[in-house]
Amino acid sequence: MAVDRASVIAWLNELARVYSANCGLLTELDSAIGDADHGASMERGFLAVQADIPKLPEAIGPLFKAVAATLIRTVGGASGPLYGTFFLRAGAVCPDKPALDAHDVLALFRAGVEGIVARGKASPGDKTMVDALTPALAAMNPEAGVAAMLEAAAEAAAAGMKATIPLVARKGRASYLGPRSVGHQDPGATSAWMLIRAAADQWRAA
């Protein structure tokens, strides 16, 4: 099995559901060490993506680029350009075929995460979404198949997300807090974990 267009759409629908359902949680995390908008921003962005679904291109590469454009146009803040870049880069490396195999999926996640790092210049340990995404990427083994690869990635992302709690933030708005950022889970690492968790859940059969 592989990830076809329908699976991608299912993922996008699930993201709209997940970010709406967790809008309050993300905002609460962002209240503690940021500015209380991360939940609303993610919800707004992925509801816009969901609304765009009927108009999305057929091919998965262009489809991801269209998702990127919508996120960049509707999210704003730090996470808008970062998640936008994720989908832009993912779309750019997407092979022109109707369904993606595990190697393709790894390639697009790698390109996406590298894009976020290139844009935001955060290193692991800076207490950002990168702390969920980098270990997730490292845990991806395409030989295991899409489902197992993403399950491992989601678990690694969860661990990375939790590992942000004791960190001192060095990038983004939380960095202004210095040592006072310790003890709080990073909102962006949390939304990043949800991104991968949703893929793992939706692409179980792939």
């Binding site: 209380a36 908008d37 704003g76 730090a78 808008g80 350009p81 990038k171 960095s175 202004y176």
Partner: protein, 333 residues
């Protein structure tokens, strides 16, 4: 949460509609994408001055659009930087052929979105220069942070660069002037109460009945230190000392000062704070040559204040006095 709004999601749009209805002689508002632009933009041959950022800081930035200040302002959702397409469209509308200055407050989101917008503008042959404002001494400016935040100096930069652009200063010079204003400015803020982001529905933080947050950010980001409330004199001294520890402002020199309310502080108190500030600076031999006392860069309904000082040379004072005709700042016309 009690607010004078309809739906949390509609706050920014409906408020901008109000701005457009209230000041048809000064500004136009575009809604798709969202930005505020001078009634008569683009002004042929003049460098455009554009700023933007999350909403919730009114009158900044939409209230500073008009002759002698901004050509366009780009408001995002509450406390959320605007998006590249908005910034690009505003920049295009503000470009009179002489290029456009982007005045950006130093937040990751603002930087990233303005960067992407500048790339889009370049692709269309619009010349842009970006200046990042980072005047907040509450935040350490170290390699290990996103750097100091941009706060009150933004208002000063918008006024002074707006005047210089009106006089015909070319883009590169204008950007250099903006950088000088930023380098010579420092700010510090404090809060007595939290703000409430409409979409969040509850206060971003809570302070005890005898606590204040020193070094608060204008998005309700926690500050340097939570501490027992003090009197106005001690608070002003604390903020001013923090500023002067980082800003060369020798005796005999002049400053432009902003004593700013964060949205929930009565003017009665702001003038009282101004008294404390002027007395303190006078004792150091510093002359406040010009000043603003009021709500200029706010954080929704937060009770608290910030102080901004610009070490001002003759050029800055002269440009300061030029006419400005905007909803939020007006003199000389």
């Amino acid at each position: 949460m009690k607010k004078l709004i309809n739906n949390p999601q509609d706050v920014v749009r409906e408020s901008l509609e109000g701005l457009a209805l209230a000041h048809p002689d000064l500004v136009r508002v575009s809604f798709n994408p969202v930005y505020v632009v001078r009634r008569d933009a683009p002004v042929r041959g003049k460098v455009g001055v554009v700023s933007g950022g999350g909403s919730g800081h009114e009158p900044m930035h939409g209230g500073y659009v008009g002759r002698g200040m901004l050509d366009a302002a780009v408001p995002g959702a509450v406390f959320t930087s605007p998006t590249p397409d908005q910034i690009e469209a505003a920049t295009r509308d503000a470009d009179g052929g002489a290029g456009v200055l982007h005045i950006i407050k130093n937040y990751t989101g603002d930087i990233l979105n303005f960067e992407m917008a500048a790339e889009l503008c370049q692709m269309q042959g619009i010349d842009t220069e970006a200046v990042v404002i980072n005047d907040d001494v509450a935040v350490e400016n170290s390699l290990y942070t996103a750097g100091r935040r941009g706060v009150g100096a933004t208002v000063l930069a918008e006024k002074i660069c707006g005047a210089a652009a009106e006089r015909g200063m070319p883009l590169k010079e204008l950007a250099a002037l903006c950088r000088r204003v930023n380098e010579n400015s420092r700010s510090m803020g404090m809060a007595l109460t939290s703000c409430t982001v409409p979409a969040a529905g509850k206060p971003t933080f809570t302070l005890g009945d005898d606590e204040m947050e020193m070094g608060i950010g204008i998005h309700g980001e926690p500050g340097r230190e939570r501490m027992p409330v003090e009197g106005a004199r001690e608070i002003v001294a604390r903020m001013t000392e923090a500023i002067l520890a980082d800003l060369r402002l020798p005796s005999g020199h002049s400053a432009i000062a902003v004593v700013n309310g964060l949205g929930g502080t009565p003017l009665l108190e702001l003038y009282l704070l101004y008294r404390e500030l002027q007395r303190l600076l006078e004792a150091r031999g510093v002359v406040i040559a010009r000043r603003l006392v009021g709500n200029y860069i706010t954080s929704l309904e937060m009770a608290g204040c910030s102080i901004t000082l610009l070490h001002a040379d003759e050029e800055a004072l002269d440009l300061w006095d030029d006419p400005v005709v905007t909803p939020g700042l007006r003199w000389g016309a």
